[in-house]
Structure formats: structure tokens, C-alpha cells
């Protein structure tokens, strides 16, 4: 079965991509992902705040106790005091890109205007096939306007696009006032790819400890419906490639996203649950389904169930909502 496709103009052997995760924190991890069969690997995200925090911590630790005893004026070599920057990440990126024959995409979560552009440029120089901007942001200040948040994200994309020549994708969350309009704005600003959606990690409360907890959970298939809805709406309406992420567990989930209009389907939770070889299971399942349904290439099925251009998308969604409620009332969730 021919599974090759393109993502942001990059040729991939298949549409399954390992999304940013701890699985790609080592060169061996990236090798295992590639050996498992994925078409590309997105490295774990580099957070600008973490780089700055480590630099500040190292400076504090090298200074602690120095110049306090004549027989030992310092406790560390000069190198300890050097600004580490994203050196470890860039070294991993360079070696990972050399080690595998699938594209390795760097993931960046910047915090300052200079940070976005500077780190992106370094990632390109280190051999990134593309850069994914992780614009995860929770505007905790309730006086921040939605438009200001959106403009920050568009500005970050623009700065990075000015700084690099490799393709740039934006991984966005669903919590914009109008996700579709935000996607169009990013598309117009030059995004080569849109990754839908980042998961909003919400803390939970431990009633016994009377404390908040991080409450991280892997995604489940039901979570795939939200990004699928927007991918179906955006397919054919943006120039950027569409990448689906969240809610992939079995081959049918991959097929669902492709039918909705995704160019590639990203997963981490399934690989964490079942191992990196599960990528092969997903791809074999996709091939078997395609053969059963008479498809011979990914192109043939991509976007078959999207909301066609020219459709009144708002009316389409409204009708879907009303129809869904009607079906639920008539079924298991209806009045007795």
C-alpha cells in the first residue's frame, strides 16, 4: 500500500508522525521511533523559560561559596559559569537528524520575542527539517484581551518566519474565540503547517492533601473529535498543511483524521501506552483498511469527509449539533 505523503512540502514515507514527547529526549529514543515506522519525529519541546532558569541556577551555584576561603576560591571550572543556552537540545537535534532517515522536526516554546527567533535560527542551523512552534499559553491574567493573545501568537510566527527558511508549523490550542479565524490569520502570516490541537493541561485537586496536583493523563480517542471537527472545516480553506494530534489509539483513528482532511496524524499517547513499535500496528491497520475500502494512496482519502468549500460551514455545524442532540434523545440518553 502506498502511504507516502507530504507535510509542509516535506516528503514523508507515511502520514504518521511522532509528536513532541519524552520519547524523543534521546538519540536512541528517536531511533526507536523511526525504527517503529513513523514518517517523521517531532522532538520534545524546548522551553525558553527552562533554559533561562537553568542559566540563572548555574550562575547562583557557581557563585555560592566562591571567594570565601583562600585555599579554595571557587569550586567549579569556568565552563560551569558559561551560559548553557539550548546547547543540549541543539546537540540532540543534530545527532538525531544524522541518526535517522526520517525528518526530525524541532519544537520550540518561546517566551520572548528574541527567544522565538534566536532559538529557531539555531534549530535550523542544527539540522531541523522544520520547526514547530508550541504556542501553548494560558492567559491567566483575566484583563488580557483575546485579540492581544492572538496577536502575540501571530507575531511569534512572523518573527520566526523572518529568521528561518525551513518550514514552520504552529501547534495551537482550541481555546481561541474563533479557532477557524485564528487558523486563517496564521495561514496568512505564512504558517506552513497548523497542528490541531495542543492539549490544555489542567491541574486537579487532591481533597485528602488539600492541594493541587498536575493530574496529567494521556489522551483518549474521544478527544480526537474536537481537532477532527476543525480539520474538516479548515481542509481546503488554508494553504498550510494540517496536522492532527490528540486522540489517536488505533488505526481507525488515523483513518478518521485523514478522512476529515489532515495531511498527517501525530501521536504520543498511543506510543507511550503500547511502545514505539505500535506505530507499525497503526500503519498496518491503516493499510488493511485502505485495501478493504479500495483506496490505493493517502491522497485518495484525504479530506473525503471535510466540510466542502462553498458550504455554509456555520449552518453545517449548527445542523450537526441539532442532529446530534436529536439522536442522543432518541437513543440511550433520551427520556425514559
Amino acid at each position: 500500500m502506498e502511504l507516502s505523503t507530504t507535510y509542509m512540502g516535506i516528503a514523508l514515507r507515511n502520514p504518521l508522525v511522532a509528536s513532541a514527547s519524552p520519547l524523543s529526549k534521546t538519540v536512541d529514543g528517536v531511533r526507536r521511533l523511526a525504527a517503529g515506522g513513523v514518517g517523521a519525529v517531532v522532538l520534545y519541546s524546548l522551553f525558553e523559560e527552562q533554559v533561562r532558569r537553568e542559566a540563572a541556577l548555574n550562575a547562583r551555584l557557581t557563585a555560592a561559596g566562591s571567594e570565601s576561603f583562600p585555599e579554595s576560591l571557587s569550586y567549579f571550572p569556568d565552563a560551569a559559569d558559561e551560559e548553557p543556552g539550548p546547547r543540549r537540545y541543539l546537540s540532540l537535534l543534530e545527532r538525531a537528524a544524522d541518526a535517522v532517515d526520517v525528518p526530525v522536526i524541532a519544537s520550540l516554546n518561546g517566551a520572548t520575542p528574541g527567544g522565538w527567533a534566536g532559538y529557531a535560527r539555531s534549530m535550523q542551523d542544527a539540522g531541523a527539517a522544520a520547526i514547530e512552534l508550541n504556542v501553548y499559553e494560558v492567559p491567566g491574567d483575566p484583563t488580557t484581551s483575546g485579540r492581544d493573545v492572538e496577536q502575540r501568537h501571530v507575531d511569534a510566527l512572523s518573527r520566526v518566519k523572518d529568521a528561518v527558511t525551513v518550514p514552520v508549523a504552529v501547534k495551537l490550542g482550541p481555546h481561541y474565540s474563533s479557532p477557524g479565524e485564528m487558523a486563517l490569520r496564521l495561514d496568512a502570516a505564512g504558517a506552513d503547517g497548523l497542528v490541531l490541537f495542543n492539549r490544555f493541561l489542567q491541574p486537579d485537586i487532591d481533597t485528602e492533601a488539600i492541594a493541587t496536583t498536575s493530574a496529567f493523563e494521556l489522551s483518549g480517542p474521544a478527544e480526537g473529535r474536537l481537532p477532527r471537527t476543525w480539520i474538516a472545516l479548515l481542509h481546503g480553506r488554508v494553504q498550510a498543511s494540517l496536522a492532527a494530534t490528540t486522540g489517536v489509539e488505533e488505526a481507525a483513528d488515523v483513518a478518521r483524521f485523514l478522512l476529515a482532511g489532515a495531511d498527517v496524524v501525530m501521536t504520543t499517547s498511543a506510543l507511550l501506552r503500547h511502545g514505539t513499535a505500535h506505530a507499525g500496528v497503526l500503519l498496518d491497520g491503516l493499510s488493511a483498511w485502505m485495501a478493504r475500502k479500495g483506496f490505493t494512496t493517502v491522497d485518495e482519502l484525504c479530506g473525503l469527509l471535510c466540510v466542502a468549500a462553498g458550504t455554509d460551514a456555520a449552518a453545517h455545524e449548527r445542523a450537526g449539533y441539532v442532529g446530534g442532540l436529536r439522536d442522543a434523545n432518541a437513543g440511550a440518553h433520551g427520556p425514559r
Binding site: 537553568e54 548555574n58 551555584l61 557557581t62 569550586y75 565552563a79 546547547r87
Partner: protein, 116 residues
């Protein structure tokens, strides 16, 4: 008695020294053991392994110390290579200690001190 002591030269927040000592033991970097020759005389295994098996990755211990992070920042591939060897050494040493802790007493040298 050989005791691990946290130190300013390790490059840690000194107020967290005991937490770091806990990680040293939990990662297998610093197993806790005793050797009591008198136990051998009583027919018991003189080698006592007091800490449980390593239950956190070695990196959870080393990444918190500037003395290790410095190499990771200046020469990441070399740091990874050495870390891999160190993790292997931790596992090998643990295997040896576990084997010693489960041996019969007779496989240890007898206490040669003159009985009083």
C-alpha cells in the same frame, strides 16, 4: 564507616542536601550496606544490603548537580556516553551486592580474630 556527604562542590542548593542524598540512594548511585564479621561467626550472612533496589533513574540524581550538568552543557555527546556507562556500572554493582546479600554465610571468609 564510609558515608556520603553532600557538598557545595556538587553544585546543589545546599538546603536540599538531604533530598539529594535520598536520590543518591534511590538511584543506586550510593547503596547502603554493612559488613559485620561477627554475624559470620553466628552462621549468618555478614553482608547486609540495607537499601532497596534502584527505583529512580540515575539521571534523577545526576541532573540536579552542577558538576554533572556542566559536562552535559559543554559536551552533550560525551556526557551521554559517560552517563550510559555510569548507569551500567550502577546496575552491575547492584547485581554484585544483591548476590552477596543472598549468599550463604560460608561463602564469606571466617572471622580470623582470636577468640577471647
Amino acid at each position: 564507616m564510609i558515608a556520603y556527604s553532600h557538598c557545595i562542590a556538587h553544585g546543589i542548593e545546599m538546603r536540599n542536601g538531604l533530598d539529594q542524598q535520598h536520590r543518591a540512594v534511590a538511584s543506586g548511585y550510593w547503596p547502603l550496606l554493612r559488613y559485620d564479621p561477627m554475624a559470620r561467626s553466628a552462621g549468618a550472612n555478614p553482608f547486609l544490603l540495607d537499601s532497596p533496589r534502584p527505583r529512580i533513574p540515575l539521571a534523577d540524581y545526576t541532573d540536579r548537580e552542577l558538576r554533572y550538568r556542566t559536562l552535559a552543557n559543554t559536551d552533550p555527546p560525551e556526557a551521554e556516553r559517560l552517563h550510559g556507562l555510569a548507569a551500567e556500572a550502577v546496575a552491575q554493582r547492584w547485581d554484585v551486592y544483591e548476590e552477596m546479600a543472598t549468599r550463604g554465610a560460608r561463602r564469606f571468609p571466617a572471622d580470623a580474630r582470636k577468640e577471647r
